[in-house]
Assembly symmetry: D2
Homo-oligomer: 346 residues x 4
């Protein structure tokens, strides 16, 4: 078991510095390197973290025998090549979401990681968020009862990507949350999107996912909304839950609300001749706001990566979770191309 994990970070754009910051705060790991093609990004890291070596060639990191693990935060199209080389050089690998740009590549990475007995982990940050874990606990306790619908909204103005559409950019977060909560793959998906700002790159999309047991999920992802919204509504037959990730406090509210069918002994109403012999009874009780631990999910994720390296245990967001998310997105992409037709997952 290694005592101290030496890390190299590839890509210092938007997310890379967050990884460096978090890994730097972990006792039993050390950030040795970071790579980026842009001088000004490397300069920025040098000033903030003088002990981190910088390079324009990520191969310097992969070739350094002192490096135990690499974290890859480059554009999606580069993930596969970089992760493959790293695994083959005997490094543990953490890749930004989405793990690769297609499922074939993800499958290959999984195979290589298994063969080389290295950790392959994808940064599905929300799977480490205290709020999402609290929701999972609530669902697993059956407090909500049978789940009917999960409605997810993740919209704001920008940041428009130029190489991937809004589904590839934002939906991986919600899909990874969904698969994590439900522990199931959807049976089919449907996607409906439009490109307004950049031709050919959808910037607004509505997504529908059918799960087994008649669980329905919908997502609205958009780079075109005046408000920043990150909201999940889970409707169960016992209780309902709203998770607002932008709230400073009170992120999760559990509503003791519902509707029950009861035998109706009243005579039929002549006006409503189609009514069945039952009545609907509405329940509305207390609202509970559970306390959520205030901890940065990314920090928990980074610690988990180091922990998996040291103990050899399988990450929560492992290669297979990465692959599952890709399979769902690929199906959505296919639906997008086919004008919103339902696409079944194999």
């Amino acid at each position: 078991m290694i005592k101290l994990a030496n890390i190299g970070v590839i890509g210092c754009g938007y997310w890379g510095p967050n990884l460096i910051r978090n890994f730097s705060q972990i006792k039993d790991c050390k950030v040795l390197w970071c790579a980026d093609l842009r001088d000004e990004r490397l300069q920025h890291i040098k000033e903030a973290y003088p002990s981190v070596q910088t390079t324009k060639s990520y191969m310097d990191i992969i070739n350094d025998k002192n490096v135990d693990a690499v974290a890859i935060a480059t554009p999606v199209s580069l993930h596969f090549g970089q992760a493959k080389k790293a695994l083959e050089s005997g490094k543990h690998v953490l890749v930004e979401k989405p793990i690769t740009s297609n499922s074939k590549d993800a499958e290959e990475l999984i195979r290589i990681a298994e063969k080389s007995k290295k950790i392959l982990m994808v940064d599905h940050t929300f799977e480490y968020s205290p709020a999402v874990n609290k929701i999972k606990e609530i669902i697993d306790s059956n407090e909500l009862g049978k789940i009917f619908t999960i409605d997810m909204i993740r919209v704001n103005l920008g940041l428009f990507q130029k190489d991937i559409n809004v589904v590839w950019d934002l939906a991986p977060h919600d899909i990874s949350i969904l698969l994590f909560l439900l522990r199931k793959m959807p049976l089919s998906v449907r996607a409906d999107g439009v490109d307004f700002v950049q031709k050919g790159i959808e910037d607004d999309a509505h997504l529908a996912l059918k799960f087994p047991d008649k669980v329905m999920a919908h997502m609205h992802v958009s780079w075109l909304d005046p408000l920043k919204i990150r909201k999940v509504t889970i409707v169960g037959n016992r209780k309902m839950l709203v998770y607002d990730d932008t709230a400073q406090n009170e992120k999760i509210k559990i509503y003791d609300k519902g509707v029950n069918l009861e035998k109706n002994s009243l005579p039929r109403d002549e006006y409503y001749s189609t009514w069945e012999g039952f009545k609907l009874v509405y329940r509305s009780g207390d609202v509970n706001i559970p306390r959520i631990e205030e901890k940065e999910p990314l920090s928990i994720m980074c610690r988990h990566f180091i922990d998996c390296i040291k103990t050899g245990k399988k990450p929560i967001s492992n290669g297979n979770s990465g692959l599952n998310v890709i399979r769902v997105i690929e199906a959505m992409q296919e639906s997008l191309k086919n004008n919103g037709a339902e696409v079944h997952l194999k």
Copy 2:
């Protein structure tokens, strides 16, 4: 021109008493009658409005020569028959939304009304709301620029209907707002819904509408949500607008926000080899909350009905607007049956 319009209200369930209350407050009209099959509803009206005659047979109203106009607030399936009889007996008619349960019936009502030269109006209440009219004014002034998307959410817990699904129940509001704002019919619709509580009656649906000029609208209507939400987000290429009808004040917020494409003179970034020769520039300015007149939309609607009766002018929400809404809903219903397939409007 009649001085005083005598009104009969058919149906005293949820909405009827609101009509009676509003018509009672108008100087040049008088509520003569109300009809309902349920004794306790009639009793309720008798106590609140001693001067209103009550009956269990709506034909008493239609046969009363003193009655100038009837307002119909019964279940949808009864609208056509009652409106037809009323028009044929020479009454002006105001019908609750949706105007009828199919477009054929709506077309026939329009024909009869034209022939008998009577007012046929449908209670699309929101077309009279000061907030919706303010939004129309803002759109017409081109303050928002070219409209990209309109996202509408109308959800809450209940009231579950037993004879119609959530699309027929809630979507007419949003559709009538949309047609009113855009003055256009959609080219196609798509509907995706599920029935959880009552078998065969969808209680949660997501709806998509494609309009000319690449304007996209989406609606989420549901009887299954812990929160009461009535929200419309309109994204234009100049500004964006959010309308929250549940807000006590500050119903409309106009965001001076957007994204522009600009020629990019920077050298291409090697990491992002697919980037085009332009850059995206984000704008974020002030937010403005226009003052909205505080007036009950239903009261304005009732006054407009009386005004049309007296002057003979065509109502804003006339038979044709009623028909247009039905045509959209019928297309949605067809899509629902065909597993969400896109349905083009003829």
Copy 3:
């Protein structure tokens, strides 16, 4: 015991019509009369409630032997004279808050009511509000522990009164809530106000009340605030509670939050040489939002009045509660005149 209480309402300005509306909805009472000096107010009532007789002379009501009780909703300075005459004529009396314009008058009304064995009740509406009663229940259960502070804010723009200042106008609500919750009179008060809009009539005031057991209450009452705020924060040593009366739902939130003193075994910190041998431990748990019955407090108050008339039981907000509120306001008024000096209640 009377079966049906006949009511006369004196004063049909802002509040009178609300009383008429609520009394009209109660089965075992009937509004016989209403009085106002203004023709247009009487006309307004006539239209809405054709069965109610109107008069410009309130003595018509007092002289009518069929009248069992009068409700007085006139300017404060008229309460005493009208209530006195009504009680002396054998009527039960409900008076708007504040009960009279000075405590001597209130005492006399109490004496007269006792002698004539009639109900004397003051309309402290909030003592009948489901939310305030829920708070009382929570306090009485000791869920909040020992109460430290109660902070009350009741501000908005207008309605500026011309005959009384903002303390006489708005503070009676908060004072009656406080006395109701704590079941105690304050030991002393302090008031600090300014007159901006109308010379000599304070439109903004801050009030402080010291209660036994070191309970402190503060009130901010103002006619000069852009927002309508009705908020009460109760800090106990176990839990804390916030009551927002303007919230459509979620009016009461109970915070499982607090701070405890614990013995501190750590060595003293040299920098902080004044520190004591203890440490402060912060608690922060769930938030609970109890369900509140949705019922108009005024309706409950009116029913309670009728119930007291019929059964002879003493009203919750009886003459003495009215007097207690006046005694507190008089002390505040004295403090206002003495530049905010502390005024002890006898």
Copy 4:
């Protein structure tokens, strides 16, 4: 003029690390040293900023000739001694608020700084906040008209201080904002506080300040509130402004609301015989939310300090602003001791 300012930070508790972080990001300055008595605090800094030297004796910093300026973030009682030594050793000095624990000391620091021609600046962070500067701009433009009241609320649960009460801890922020906005000292203050958790240390206080021209300000500062509130309401005779510093966006709202006195031609109302010959007319127009630059106030403050060192210009929050805040707090403290008596400032 120095090119590069070398900084030493004394005190690495709650605020010190924020100063180190911000000074580290400024090009033309360098953090050479930090001092604290606690090993674990120094260790923490060493890890985050390996290039910063640490010491347990702040005299190491003052004796280092390479140090140009010191920033003092120690308990208030130590400010004077440390700042004095630093100034006398020829260092520029930035001191946390409040500048000293009494005005005599502040006056002496000002004298020493003047004599030694060094910068003496106090960290009134809010004077550098974009939101507060925007409010100042709005007030100076006379958009609000004549100011009536300023109401400030700064409450939350904890952090309880052990050496100073809540007035010394929290009120300096609001007082510095007030003096900055109004450019005037109050004529008198009044303070009313209670100690619940720690005997002898007020944890909840209400403060009143009378300014010239009948401007009234009130502050509620507390360590005992379940909610974190930082809110300022400014009522002018033209418009009103609410500043909510906890809002993520929309920190400032300007309400086009007010009340005007107009000549009243109506006949006097007999009920309201005290009414004057005027009427009150309420205005309620749009709400505007100006865009506020998103910049950390502390970063702007640190840059201003470096800028003043380099150019010799007088800081915005100079020794005199520090002294003025102390004078107000001392008067409040005197009022606290005298049971809330009004205390005039000399």
